[in-house]
Point group: D4
Chain length 252, copies 8
C-alpha cells in the first residue's frame, strides 16, 4: 500500500537484516488491530489524515465502548457518530474524558488540543429540523481541524434571511449546505459563490420526499456548478470531504 | 349532470310538453358526438369554460384533422397540442384557417376573436431548453383568454436575472413556472410572491433527473407555500389551471 | 426584495438622512428575528399574505412553544400544523389562548377576528380515513380567511353520494379534494366543474399504494383539466394555494 | 398432470396392454412438439380451453410463420398477437387463410367457425389512444368465443358519455376497461356494476405516467370492489381472463 | 344511476303524483345515510350484490362500532376487515352478535343465514405466513355466499405438495392464490387449470421483496393466461372479484 | 417427481402387487406431512440434500415449536432461522436439545454429528454491523456440512485488512461476502480469486442505501466475474448455494 | 497480489539476483498491457482461470479488433460478447480465425482446442425469446470448458414440457436458468434439484416487467434454496459463475 | 448580489454622482444580456470564476452558434459541452477559432492562453466505455486552468492495474473517478488517498444498472470518506467542483 514502506522493507531484506519469511510477514501486517468483531484500522490516520471514526448505529454499547477505548489509546482525537445518549453513558464509564454533543449525536475525545486549520467552513441548514445533520457536520469538521461557522434556518421560502448573511458566504473557504424537502437552498448558494459547495440532502420532509430522495435528486441535478453531493443525512461525510479540501488548501 | 337542465326537463314533462320516453331519451343525450373512434364532448365548453382540446400524440393525421374540423364547426376557438408540423400540414388542408405555433407545437383556430380577461399570467422558463413547455402553456393561456407575459431563461444559477424582473413578478395575477433539472426556480418564486404559482416540471435534464422526476419531486416538496404542481412537461395543464383561476378572479 | 423599500432607502441616503454604512446595514436587516435555532420570517405576512406557519414535526415542544409565542406577539393570527396533543399541552402553558383542532392536528391563535373573504372553499374527502388531511386543509383555509364547506366520504365507489351534493360543487369558488388509494375522485370532480381544483393525495391505502404514491401519480396524470396537485398528505399546502386564489379573486 | 390420463395408463399397464417402459415413456410424452427453438404446447387447448397463442414480439418472421403453420395444422383457431403488418405479410405467404386485424395488431386463422358463448363481454376504452389495447382484447375475446361490444372514448373527463351508455353496462356479463393516464375509469365503472371488471392499464400518457405505472397503481388501489388487474397494455391477458369467466358461466 | 328508478319517477311526475321539486329531490336522495364522518352507501347491496364493507384500519373503535351497528340494522350480513381483537371487543359491546375471525382479522354479523352459491372457490396459500391474507379472502368469500375450500402451504419449493391436491384444482370454479416472496405459485396454478385465477401478492418476504412488490410484479407478468391480480395483501378484493364471478356463473 | 419411484411403482402395479387405485394414491402421496397450518416437506432432504428449514419470522412460537419438533423426529439435523431469543425459549421447552446461536439468530438441533465435507467456505463481512447476516450464513453452512472460516470487518475503506488475509482467500473453495453500504467488497474479492463468490447485500447503511438496494444493485452489476447474488440479508440463501456447490465438488 | 510471486521476488532480492529498485519495479509491473484506451489484464487468466473477455457494447469496431488481436496473441482462447455482425466483419478482417455465434452475439477464437471438463452444464430458457441470453451463457460456458446441454422453451405456462426432460435436470452438475416475464421457472427448477442453480433474469416482457426488473426481483426472492442470481440479460456472468463451480468440482 | 458593488453604488448616490432612479436602475441591471431565447449571464465569470458554459443538448445549432459567438466576444475562454460533430461544424462557420474534442464531445475557444494552476487533477476511468465522461471532465478541467493527468481502464476487476499507478494517486491534488456498473472504483480510491475524491457515476452498464443508478447509489453509500458525488455522466460538474477546489487551494 505504501511505496516507502515497501522500499525500506526490501532494503532491509537485501541487507540481510531480515529474512524472506519475515519480510513476507511484514507485508501482511499493515497496522490494524484485530479484536474479533472488528479490525481497527490504525493505519487510517496516516492514509486519510484522521483516525477511523466509529459509526455507532447497529453496534452494541459494549462493543462501541471497547472500540473507542482502543482508538483513544493510539490517537490524539477520537470521534463517534450516530451515538444516542445511552451509548454515551456507557462509553463515559470507561472513557470518562469523552464528551457528548447532544444535537449532533456525537461523542468526542480530545487527548490533545485539535490542530486547527485557518480555512473556515460555513455549515448552513435550510430549516430548524435539519440542524442535527448540520451539527454532525459541524462537530466532525471541528475535530478534523476546521473553523466552523454555523448559519441555520435560512431556507428559500424566506430568501432574504440568506442574503442578509451574504458576508458569511463570501468569507467561507468551503460551504456545507444541509437541506431537506426540495433542497433548493444548495443550488441557490452554489449560484452565488465560487468556493466548493458540499450538499447534504436530509430526510426531513414528508409525503413525496421519500426519506430525502427528493432533496437528493434535486441536489444531484443542480443547474449551478461547483457543487457535489453526499448521502442523505450524511453530515459526517460532508465534513470529511470539507476537511480533505481545506487540508489540501493549507498544504499549498 | 346539470340541475337546471334536469329541472326544466322535469317541468316540461310535468306540463305534458314531452312524454316520459322522450324525457328519458333527453337524459341520455347530453351533448356529445359519436364519430366511432372518438366521442366529442360538445358539452365541455359549458361545463369547463373551454371546448375539448385535442391531444395529438398517438392519433393519426386523418383522425386529428376530422376531429379538429368537427370541433371547429361548433366552437369559436379550437386548440390542438403536441402537434408536429406534419400534422399541421394535414390539418391545414381541410382547415385552412388553422395556425401553427412552432415552438409550442400547437395548432389553433380562432373563428372569432378571443374574449380576453384582464388578469395577466406570467409564464417563466428556467432555461432555454424549457421554452417548448413554456410556450405550450403560453399559447394555451392565450386562447383561453389570458394576457400572457413571457420571461425565459431566468434560472437559479444566475438568480439576478430573475430579480432584475421583479416588477413582472409583482404585476402577475398567476405565475406559471416551467423548470427541469432540480426545479428550484419554482420554490424561489413562490417564496417571493403572494399570487398562485403553478409549477411545471420539465423532462429537461440528464442522468438522475430520470425524465423530470427530480424536478417533479422537488416542486411537490417545496418549502414555500401557494404553489401547486402539474404533470411533467404539461404546459397545457398549467395553462388550464391558470385560466380557471383568472376566470374565477374576473367573475367576482 | 422590495422595490419601494429600496427606493425610500436610497432617497434617505441621497438626502443625507443616513450614511452609506447605515444604508448597507439596512439592506441586510430585512425583518426576521434570529433566535438561534430558528430565524422567524416576520416579513412573510407582507410578502405572502399570512405569517410564517409552524410545522411541528421534528421540533421539540420547547422550541415550538417559544416560536409560537414569538409569532403571536407580532401577528394577529398564528397557525401550527402537525401538532400532537402533547405539543398543544406544552404550548397552552405559555400561550393559554391557543386552541387545538384534534382531527386536523393544528394549533391556532386568533388575537383578532379573522378577516373573512366571501369566496367559499369546498373541502372534500374521498373516505373517512382522509378526514385528518381534509381537516388540516379546512382549518388552514379558515384561519387564512376562507369560508369552508366540508363534504366528506363521497368517494367514487358510491359516486351517487357525490352527485347528490352537486349544488355544493356548483357554489364553490375553489375545491380541495383529498383522496388516497387510487385518487380517482379528483379527476371525477375536475371533470364536472370549471373552478380550480386542488388535489391532495393522501397516504391512506395499503399494499401498492406505496404511502400515497399511487394517488399522487393518478392525480398528476388526470385526464381532466383545471387541476393541480400538492404533496402527499399536504392539507396545509392545498389550503395555502386555495387562499392565494381567493385572495386574488377578491382583489379584482 | 391429468388424473384420467394417468388412471387409464395405469389400467392398461395392469392389464398388460403395455409394459413398464412404455408406460414410463408415455408419462414423459405429454403432447408437445419440439421444433428446436420452440416447444409447441399442443396440450394447452385441453388444459386451458384455447391453443397456445403466439406472442410475436422478439421473434423472427420465419419462426413466427413456422409456428403458426404448425399450430394451424392441429387447431381449429389460431391467434398471434403483437404482430406488425410485415409479420402478417410473411405469415400470409405460407398461411394464406390468415387474417390481419390492423388496430389490434393481431393475426387470426379460423379453420372452423368459432363456437360462440352467449355471454357478452363489454370492452371499454377511456380514450382514443387506448383503442389498440382495447382491440387486442376484443379480437382475442372473439376468437375465444365471446360476444364483444365495444364502447370507446368514454373517459372520466366527460363522464356523461359513459352514463349515456348505462344500458351497455347493465347488459354485460364481464367488462374489460382499458385506460391510461390516471386510469380512473376502471374504478368509476366497478362502482356502478356487479359483474366482474378486468382493468387493463395502458401505457398511454406522458410525464409521470411512467409508461403506464400511474394507471397500474391506480387500478390496483381501486376503492371499488369486483375488479382485478392485468399487466400494462395486456389486452390479450384481459381477454383470456374474461374468456375463462364466461366459459365458467356457461358451463353452469 | 338506475334507469328503472328514473323511468318510474318520471311517470309519477307526469301523472301528477309528485311535483317537480319533489322529483328533483328524489333524484338527489339515492339511498345513503350521512352520519357526519361517513356516508353509508345503503344502495351498494343493490348495485354490487353485497353491502358496504368496513375497512377498519385508520378508524377509531367508536366510529367502527357505530358504522357496523348502522349497517347491521339495514342488511342481513355485515363484514368488517382489518379488525384487531381490540376493535372486536369494542364492537361486540354494542353488537353482541358479532363474531371474530382471528386469523382473518375479520368481524362478521349474520342476521340471516347466508344464501349459498353452488360454485366452489379454492383459496390457496403458498406458505404458512400467507395464511392471514388467505383467511381474509376465505371469510369474505363465505359471507358473500361462496363455498370455500382451503389449501395452505403448497408453495413451489415443494411442488409435489400442490400436485397431490390436483383434484382440488380440478373441482374449483374459481381459484384465489395468495403468495409472497417470488409469487411463482400463481403462475404454476394458472398453467394447470382453465378456471379464472385471482392472484393476491402478499407482503411476506424480506430484503428485495420490497413489501410485496416482487410478488406483485411477478403475478402481473405471469406467462400463464386466465389470471388477474389484486392489490398486495388484498384478500378482500380477491374474494369480491371471485364472488362477482360465481354470482355471474350461477345467474346463467 | 422421481423417475425411480415411478418406475418401481409401475413395476409393482404390473406384477399385480398393488392395484390401480392404490398406485394412483401412491402417486399422490409423496412424502409430506399435513399439520393444518403447514405441510412439512419430508421429501426435501432427498431432493435438496437438507431437510426443510424453518423461517421463523411471521410465525407464532407455538407453531414454530411444533414444526421443529416434528422435523426433529424425522431428520438428523434441524435448522431454524430468524429466531428471536423468545422463540428459542419456547422451542427449548419441548426440544431441550435445541441450541441457540445469538448473533446468527438461529436454532439448531443435531441429533447426529454433522457429516462434514472437506471443502472450506470462507464467510466474509465488510463491517461489524454485517456480522449477523454473516453468522446466519456461517451457522447454516456448518449444519449443512461445510467447514467455515470467518473473516470479519475487512471492508474496502481499509483494503489492506483484506490483503493481509490473502492466504484465506486462496484456501477457500467457496467465498460468501456479506456487505452493506456500497457493497464494493464483493467485486474486489471476485477480482482476486477464481472460486465461486456468493454476494449477500445487507440492509446496513442509511440514506440512499434504501434498505440494501444500493448494495444489491452494485453486486448485480459487478465488473468482476464468477460472482452471483442472493436476496438482501439472506445469509441462509448464500449458505444453501455454497453447500450445493461443495456437495457437487465432493461428489466428483 | 500473488504470494508466490512476492515470495520468489523477495528470495531473488535477498540472494542479490536483483537490486531493490528492480524489485520495486517488478512489484509495480504486474502483467497488463497499456494500449492507451485500454489496459489489457494479461494476468487475468492466472487469477481467474480465463483471459479477459471483451464486452463489445460501447466500443468502436477498430478498438475491439485491436483488443481481440492482442488478446489472441497471448491466450489460447478468446471470447468477445455483445458483438453485432458488423463488429464480427471488422474483427474477421484482422483475425480471420474468429468465429461468429449469431444467436449468442459472440465472437470466439480458439487457437488451441478447449480443455474440456467432465461436468455438464444445463442451460435452460423459459421461452423462445430468452434464447439469445441462453446462447450467450452456452457459448461462454463452452469456451471455458464446460459441456453444455441446451433445453429451450420449457416455461411454467406448460410445465409438463419441463417435467418430460426430468432426466436432463438429474444429470446436470450446474443449471443455468434464463427467464423473463415473472421468472417463475428458476424457482420451480431449484425446488426440484440439489445442484447449484444460477438464475438469469432476462429483459423479455412488457408493461410492468420494467426491463427485467420483475424477473430479477422474483428470482432474488425465490422460496427455493440453492439458487443465486446474476444481472439482467447477463448470460456471460452466469456462465462465468458456472465455470468457476465446475472448475472447483473437478479440482477436488 | 455583490456587497462591493452595492457599497460603491450607495457611495456614488450619497455623493450625488447619480440620482435615486439611476441607482435603482443600476441595481436592476446586473450584467446579463437578453437575446430573447436566452439571458447570457456575463456576471458569472466574476461570481463563479468561469464564464457561463453552453450545454448543447436540446438547443438548435443556430442558437448554440449565436450564444457561443456572443460569449466569445466577452470572455477569454469559452466551453460548450455535449456537442455533436454536426454542432461543431455549424459553430466553426461563425467561430472558425473553435476547436472540437471528439471523445469529450466539447467545443472550446481560447482567445487567450489559459491561466494555469499548479495543482494537478487526476482523471480516472474504470473502463474504456467510461472514457467519454472522463474526457468531458478532463477538457473542462483544463480550460478552467487545471493540470490534468489521465488514468484510464483501471477498474476493480483487475485491481493491480490501479496499484501499479499508485504514484499518480499520491501526486494528485484532486481525483475525479468516473465509473459505471457497480462503481466500486471510487470507494477503493477514496480508501487509499487523503485528497478530495469526486465520483462521477456513468450510465455504462446494462440490466439492473438502470442507466447509472446502481453506480450512483454505490458512490453515495461509499464506506470510505473524503468523497462526494455529482450527477450521472456529469463530467463537467465534476470538473467544475475540482476547479473550485484547486482555485481555493492556490488562493491560500
Amino acid at each position: 500500500m505504501d511505496n516507502k514502506f515497501l522500499y525500506e522493507l526490501l532494503e532491509r531484506l537485501k541487507k540481510g537484516e531480515i529474512d524472506t519469511d519475515a519480510a513476507l510477514d511484514k507485508l501482511k501486517i499493515l497496522p490494524f488491530e484485530d479484536i474479533g468483531y472488528a479490525k481497527l484500522d490504525h493505519h487510517r490516520n496516516l492514509r486519510k489524515g484522521f483516525p477511523e471514526v466509529v459509526f455507532c448505529e447497529g453496534k452494541t454499547s459494549l462493543h462501541i465502548s471497547e472500540i473507542i477505548k482502543k482508538l483513544a489509546l493510539c490517537n490524539s482525537n477520537v470521534l463517534a457518530t450516530r451515538a444516542s445518549r445511552d451509548i454515551y453513558t456507557a462509553v463515559s464509564k470507561i472513557c470518562p474524558e469523552a464528551q457528548y454533543h447532544e444535537l449532533a449525536r456525537c461523542i468526542t475525545i480530545n487527548n490533545e488540543p485539535i490542530q486547527k486549520y485557518n480555512s473556515s467552513v460555513l455549515v448552513i441548514s435550510a430549516g430548524t429540523a435539519d440542524i442535527p445533520v448540520a451539527e454532525e457536520a459541524a462537530v466532525t469538521t471541528e475535530i478534523m481541524g476546521g473553523n466552523v461557522t454555523r448559519l441555520y434556518d435560512v431556507g428559500v421560502a424566506g430568501i432574504h434571511r440568506l442574503f442578509s448573511h451574504h458576508d458569511l458566504l463570501r468569507k467561507a473557504s468551503v460551504i456545507i449546505v444541509t437541506a431537506g424537502m426540495e433542497g433548493a437552498l444548495a443550488t441557490v448558494i452554489a449560484g452565488l459563490v465560487n468556493v466548493p459547495v458540499i450538499a447534504v440532502p436530509t430526510s426531513i420532509g414528508y409525503g413525496a420526499s421519500f426519506g430525502g430522495l427528493a432533496a437528493l435528486l434535486a441536489m444531484l441535478n443542480s443547474c449551478a456548478s461547483g457543487i457535489a453531493v453526499v448521502n442523505i443525512d450524511n453530515g459526517f461525510g460532508a465534513a470529511a470531504m470539507a476537511s480533505s479540501i481545506i487540508r489540501l488548501a493549507e498544504k499549498n
